[in-house]
């Protein structure tokens, strides 16, 4: 793999520039549509776009910038889980003690964000081997975004999954119906406020069965 070897070593400083350039061309085309971005040099690019520019971004990426390869669409619920972390590891219990119950502030991740729900998608350019993650904020009272199916047909199933798991509606989607869950299922399991019942109905037997180590009492007192 001599050819890949050389390109790889030369590419590491160069890709950064390439990503900046890519970001510049996205910004140039979408203008106000781009509301945030983040570059990890030599590694990755995040672009946060306005909700109205979501479909245009896909068109731009596919037709002009050569991002033919569709990777996935999914969503993030940025609200910290109101049920704590429902952890089962003893380590965690010992370290953290009693878990905080009061709601914690919402913190968004890379490339920023304003709202609780964020839809993100990833597409790749198989020629330049660059990938880009596109994010879009959805207001809490209107969880809707345009579908990507006309541009990337592969988005179909990913959007169905996202719809049933997060309750995010993709307007213009050809058949928004359940994909994994039974048809009569209610609720959106991947939302943070949807309890993982297995953790609440029955405690993890691993915790119950652990006997107190000699000396544990002394530490606690």
């Amino acid at each position: 793999m001599s050819s890949a070897d050389t390109t790889e070593e030369e590419a590491v400083p160069a890709t950064d520039e390439a990503r900046e350039q890519l970001l510049a061309s996205i910004t140039a085309d979408l203008g106000e549509g781009v509301v945030g971005s983040h570059i990890r040099p030599g590694d990755d690019l995040w672009v946060r776009v306005d909700r109205d520019a979501w479909l245009d971004t896909a068109r731009l990426l596919r037709t002009k910038l050569g991002f033919h390869y569709f990777s996935f669409i999914s969503a993030i619920d940025w609200m910290p889980s109101p049920y704590g972390r429902s952890m089962d590891s003893r380590v965690d219990l010992v370290l953290e003690g009693v878990e905080a119950e009061e709601p914690q502030p919402i913190e968004q991740g890379v490339a920023g964000g304003d709202t609780r729900f964020q839809v993100f998608a990833r597409v790749n350019n198989v020629v330049t081997n660059m990938g880009v993650t596109i994010k879009v904020d959805l207001p809490d009272d209107d969880l809707r975004v345009t579908t990507w199916v006309p541009v990337y047909p592969g988005a179909n199933w990913h959007e169905r999954e996202c719809w049933e798991m997060f309750g995010i509606e993709f307007t213009g989607h050809p058949g928004l119906r359940h994909i994994y869950l039974p048809g009569a299922f209610e609720g959106n399991p991947m939302r943070k406020d949807y309890p993982l019942l297995a953790r609440h109905v029955r405690p993890w037997p691993g915790i119950v069965d652990v006997e107190a180590m000699p000396g544990d009492d002394e530490v606690k007192s």
Binding site: D44, S71, F72, D77, S89, V91, V110, G131, T133, Y152
Partner: protein, 390 residues
Amino acid sequence: MTAISDQQQLSYIAAQAADARVNVEIESEGMTLNLGPQHPATHGTLRIVAKLDGEQVIKADPVMGYMHRGYEKLTEVRTYPQVTTLINRIDWLGSFANEVPFILAAEKLMEVEAPPRAQWIRTILFEMSRIANVVLFLGDMAVQVGAVTPVFFAFRDREHILNQMEAVTGGRFHPNFDRIGGLKDDLPAGWIDETHQVMKKMRRFCDEMENLVMGNEIFQARSRGIGVIPADVGLSYGLSGANIRASGVDYDLRRDNPCGMVHDQTDWKVWTHPDGDSFARFWVRLQEVRESTSIVDQLLRTMPSGPIMAKVPRIIKVPAGEAYVETENPLGAMGYYIVSKGDLVPFRVKIRSASFSNVSITPWLLQGVYVPDIITILGSLYFILGDIDR
């Protein structure tokens, strides 16, 4: 995109014509055939609802979820080391390969790098799980088109690989061996020589399959020109791995996006096939097993000595951030998008599994084909239900 070959274009047009013909000719009521969820050709519990006109498919719609285990939700309540146990079960035929992208993504966030020897062993095991997985495909594809014998050879020879995996990891199917910052253990004594022998056996198996299955005229008649995926369509559906390489797209993450593994230290070739049909997918996978054996052999020869674990804290807290790592798994590109908030548990893990995208093309691909070809196409797309349903 890369130019579409004439043959691809012709078969694409033919498929579209068949499509149009079906739509015009339908006057009868048709028959709805449920393939699955319990059906020998669906590798588990995929169900395909096919509307038929005679034996021709008018419309096919896969229904999945019979094996949905909700891994994305479950990862949110497990520490990083615990997650690998879960994700081992996604693609259960090449389990070790599932762990690698997750561990690499976590390592990227923690900014640690496994020592060279760990990277070497990781790559070797990664390739061996590919061999274990694809060897079974080679036998299984023959079963799908009606030859029952090759799959026994596949099971027989996969056993050698599993034995080697077991010798290192202690687990035949679910090793759970990869750790953030390295590996659990070093190789046992004598393993390298044995593995060289096993790789020889695998190459012999490939020759056997080439003679027994690929050279068979009935197999060729059944698979050539069946289920043609043009490169552009395949990419927009997110097809990856051998499925897209069989459509002539020269894209292999092992070469194009090396991350934490040492494929670039070896001399190997990315195989592509211009046809994009079922036969091409079989052909590409067969060549890939050969390449994998050669990669393993080369890595075994050049393996450095040294530690197998980098310095990582005993209790792993991953710094806040987001990272996406995609690797070339046996079934295609598999990636983990990890969102961390500096905690013991990941805040959100998006699992991009290869089969989910690979199978999402079936409604498009199955239009206008005949019932026997459904099986050929599904067999050649090669999905594993755990990888679709997660």
